[in-house]
């Protein structure tokens, strides 16, 4: 997890209307680092220096497990979240961006998009999700986008004003 992940994902979340972006990391040292960065820009000197960045990072929360996130969303909304995993190479059943866009427009339940860093989400997370979004495909047989790029593209495809 890098400082730029937090910033880029925060800015995308704000631009495309994501309510909360969660960083999930089992390592306490990584969570502490993320919290420090977020605190600096939302409550520390960074908040006065750059209000735009403050707005972006206010909606980034840090948690230890996915289960915590799912529980928190259910408590906040009194409805369980539907999980939507993303993966670069998924070849199983998947949902298209158009179908997911329709669901987001009409369903009252909260939706939780899941992105993995490094080699992607763990298999059990993919298989346990309510949906898996179709992989992003360019014109060519190469798909190794960074998680920062994938988040930007997916949010734009689902909610951007094209």
């Amino acid at each position: 997890m890098t400082n730029l992940d937090i910033h880029d994902i925060g800015r995308c979340s704000k631009t495309f209307g994501v309510r909360i972006g969660y960083i999930v990391n089992p390592l306490e040292s990584q969570r502490d680092l993320a919290q420090k960065i977020i605190h600096h820009w939302t409550q520390g000197t960074g908040a006065r220096y750059n209000p735009l960045r403050k707005q972006a990072l206010e909606r980034i929360h840090v948690r230890a497990t996915l289960q915590e996130v799912i529980q928190e969303i259910a408590e906040a909304h009194h409805l369980p979240a539907k999980t939507v995993a993303t993966d670069a190479t998924w070849r199983g059943s998947s949902v298209s961006y158009q179908e997911m866009n329709d669901l987001l427009c009409h369903d009252r339940q909260p939706y939780l998009l899941l992105f993995g860093t490094g080699w992607g989400l763990a298999r059990e997370v993919l298989e346990g999700s309510d949906f898996v979004l179709a992989p992003i495909e360019g014109s060519f047989n190469y798909n190794h986008l960074s998680v920062r790029s994938a988040v930007a593209i997916v949010l734009d495809r689902l909610t951007g004003n094209r």
Copy 2:
């Protein structure tokens, strides 16, 4: 310019079929740094360690000025490049993604997309371009995406297989 800019933009370029991605920076020290990073992953030990990254970074070239880039493209293609600037807040005449997509499909001339870091492209570059792409708009009145995110979204909108 950061290490992650080079990697993310390299990967997006490869995924979406950009022939060459140019990093333009007037500072020699910055160009040297970029060249070192690219060399490591395309010809140095990084190339053996991660062939996927090698493929992505092979198409990233470093130049001192935009004029150099424009001249190089014209010499390579025996046709001048059409320049397409991007900007977060442009309120002048702009071209839509659909219109640009049609041009890219049918026009023989090479097209050069321009992205600025920090506060964006200089005004004279914007005003001197053949086209300015409509700003990326999310659902909300906030548009301060990083250049990494903007590149990913623009390339996907223009060439991605949605």
